[in-house]
Amino acid sequence: MKLPDIEYIRPSTLDEAVRLLAAPDAKVLAGGQSLLPLMAYRLAAPRILVDIGRLSELRGMRSDAHGLVLGALVRWRDIENDPCIAAAHPLLREAVSHVAHYQIRNRGTVGGSLAHADPAAELPAVALACGAGIVAIGPTGRRMIEAADFLEAPLTTALKSDEIIVELRLPPWPPTRRFVFEEFVRRRGDFALAGVCLFYDLDGEGRMVSPCVVAFGATEIQQRISMLEEYLAGRRLDEVVCAEAGEMASAAIDAVEDMHAPQDYRRALFGTLVERALIRSMTSGGGHVH
């Protein structure tokens, strides 16, 4: 499966990259881990590839009181290997360990994952859950896009064809926050048949505050389950609540159907994951792969 013919340009500045994207049929190349397989199947055939892979201004990672900023070219391996990131944002760290495989994680980027917007992908789920912002640069300058507005449809984002993602901004993560990242996959690295990213804080009486639940894999795109969040807010978790939440979660989603799993299975699976995630969050939190 040889790739279709392309013109390749490697701009030396971000502004130059933006200018090059003005051409029709031009596409950004970063890690290439999502784009190249599509091209190999000739499902995508951009005429011009604009390789931004060496623009060092997009590589930075910064963690401070304002939160975590990840440059678009930050690779999964950069997140995995940086103990400061793991400490500053354990949910992100956990989610990244579920992404694809070792070799892919060595090349795949934050910006690439967001721009590709696979509906079962982990990073968009985390971005949505945390209320992250995506900074993009275009011919008219920079803008910030809220994650909820960014993800529009499967493989479709609010990014314009002449815009490049510059960075992902995650709000500060309270160290006491409880979180679970749980997904069900056929094999490690596969896209999840269903997954849940959830977190909450606890008040002085052990009641959940500001719970956030994002479904991915089972739904058309990553989405918050506000019905469930409303149910959980103010409650103390126990096995009964977890079970009820699981049932509610099943009912709350419109599950997708494909050759790998029918809709009712995904719906039930999501409910099971939510229940198990909540139970797990009572003692430790963290992540789990089935």
């Binding site: 499966m1 040889k2 790739l3 279709p4 013919d5 199947y41 000739r42 069900f184 056929r186 094999r187 490690r188 690295g189 596969d190 048949l193 050759m259 790998h260 799993a261 029918p262 299975y265 039930a268 699976l269 099971t272 089935h290």
Partner: protein, 766 residues
Amino acid sequence: MRLSNTLVGAPVQRVEDRRFLRGEGTYVADVTREGFCHVVVVRSSVAHGTLRAIGTEAARALPGVLAVVTAADIIAARGEVPKIPLRQQVLDEGLPYLQPVIAEGVVRYVGEPVAVVVAEDAAVAEDAAALIEMDIAPLPAVAGIERAAAGDVLLFPQSPGNRPMVFTAEKGDAADAFARADYTRRECFSVQRHGAIPMETRGLFAEWDDAAGHLTLHGAAKVPFFNRSLLAKMLGLGRDAVDLIEVDVGGGFGARGEFYPEDFLIPFCARLLGRPVRWVEDRREHFTAMNHAREMSAEVEIACTRDGMVIGLRGTVDVDIGAYVRTNGFTGPRNVAQFMSGPYRIPNIALDAAVYVTNKTPAGTYRGPGRFEASFFGERLFDMAAHDLGIDPAEFRRRNLVPEAQMPYKLAKMRHIDPSADTECDGGAYEIVLDRCLDAFGWFERVKRQGALIDGRYHGYGLGMFIEGGAAGPREGCRISLEQDGRVTVAVGSSALGQGLETVLSQIASDALEVPLERIRLLHGSTTLVQEGFGSFHSRSTVMGGNAVAQAAEALKIEIRKVAAARFGCSDSDVVVGEGMARRGDDVLTFADLGALGVSVETSFSNSKHTYSYGAHAVHVAVDPKTGHVAILDYLTVEDVGRIINPATLHGQVLGSVVQGLGSVFLEEIQYDGDGQIMTGSFADYLMPTAEDFPAIRSISLELRPCPNNPLGAKGAGEGGLIAVGGAVGNAIAAALRSMKVEPCHLPFSPPRLWRLIQDSRQAAA
């Protein structure tokens, strides 16, 4: 004097490994020649339709494109489009359903070759292929057996129907047995379509020497000699004008090496262009081009006495063979009928295997063809019967195993087939192997926890037993030549597909000739090596190739004695051959000296009796009822292979085949939609086992009963690890979920399917 057999039986490290580890293997995609060009096969994207026209203008116009070949060009050159004949179960019933090497007027599956593009480089060839216009008027797609059986749409209008053949296995009087049985049970089962999917896709490198009128084709595997004869005939050449060369091969598992359309098309292009051409199948293509396997559904019935003696087995298996009957398309169907009795003594059998054509990629053999399916059907039915009759499944099996005293034991006879296709279990201590397995597994202790619910998962233990037929004849050729540098060249007609053939046969040669392993140069497969070869299939290469080597070694020693005796001026019997020389008193001729004299022999080993390895599998599963996920916590196989030439390579084969079996049971499925469009066209959708999926596998190989039918005493082994997996795992899951009365009968046991079975049974209970 060196002790013989220091290497045979030892876990000798493989001689082929060095080049593989250093990245110095030569697979067909690595073969190059000055000025070679690249071939891409253009394939139908429609499952069933009339091929009205092929537009090649745009493709031809692309710079770098050298030729575009269609059926018209083949007819112009050869007078007709050749059809690929049967190689196994060669029956006239198959004739209307044979595949033409290129689509002729009609396409019958997505992936059928329609045209061939030759270009200066592979990427341009692919660009050009995308420019080929196919004008296909769609016909209704026969998407499955039900539609095929309905018969309203015939794939082959000239044929009697969509069912080329029914294989019938018979023994005793099944009708009578079922009429008088204390207990009968009938069930439906099925196995999904999947395939061998080796890591190396196929490829061919063809060179036509116009001056010599000779074709050389690299990329052969499995049965190069058969293919050479066939190709020569198709090209209108003498047999000696064609040579098939076997290089390193990235796995075959029964699917690689059969004669496919490309095996004609690529040489045809080489001849047409007068330049070497190379074709490398890509993975997307592979899913529609290389033989599929295993899609069978069965309705089978068992009859028993009330104390658990199986007195009858009958039923029908429907096989979806895809759009054409290829070279060995009939092998799986024939086997599923004949081998469903497994290692058990079942006196009355009536099993039909009906073969249907549908608009899918044609199917052929995949490791344990028909045997995996038969074992799944039979072993599941056994456990159901055992449970109904209140008999422990291990005990049930013990009662019904073929006793050693009744060996050789004839399996069911195949109606309408050459009686020489009758086969019998050669010998074996089936009960001992069962006991070893139960013991090593701790069966009787563990089954006390059948169905236990622990940490949200139901635990179950299951058994399955198998026989594995091997060593198909009729012959295998071997030539041994002594070289001037003291090395010994051993050339065999067997094919190497990754199974360690070079090492195993070198061990045999080394011991037989008392020459160090490093001095053996083992060549295999290519038609240039021996007069007559038969290849590697049906687990035959150790038995047939091994015995051919051993026999040739004896013949060589006789020849050495003769030559040396003439030189020494004595009688043959005065010459001692050993340790790399021929000696009589102080007169010595080394192998190097003899090599300079051109000493060599070529012999052929004949065998008409199949070997039967046999074994037992035991497995421990944990089922998560909420997700449908099954964890394999322990998998044990115990088998008797008669004689182990290399325990390390054998063990490797068993482990690998168990994992393939588990892939078949849980993960792998080729899926089509209702229009005959293939949906699993990549490794993202076709799920192969990975390193984390099945870590807990152990295997024990025994040499309890050497095979009485060949001098080495060896039996074919290498498929058994896979054969019993379906039944063993299905039985374990059924046992785990006994409280819910869930009987898994349809593969694959994917999480959604198991979850559905559990839901359905809960609803039924409510």
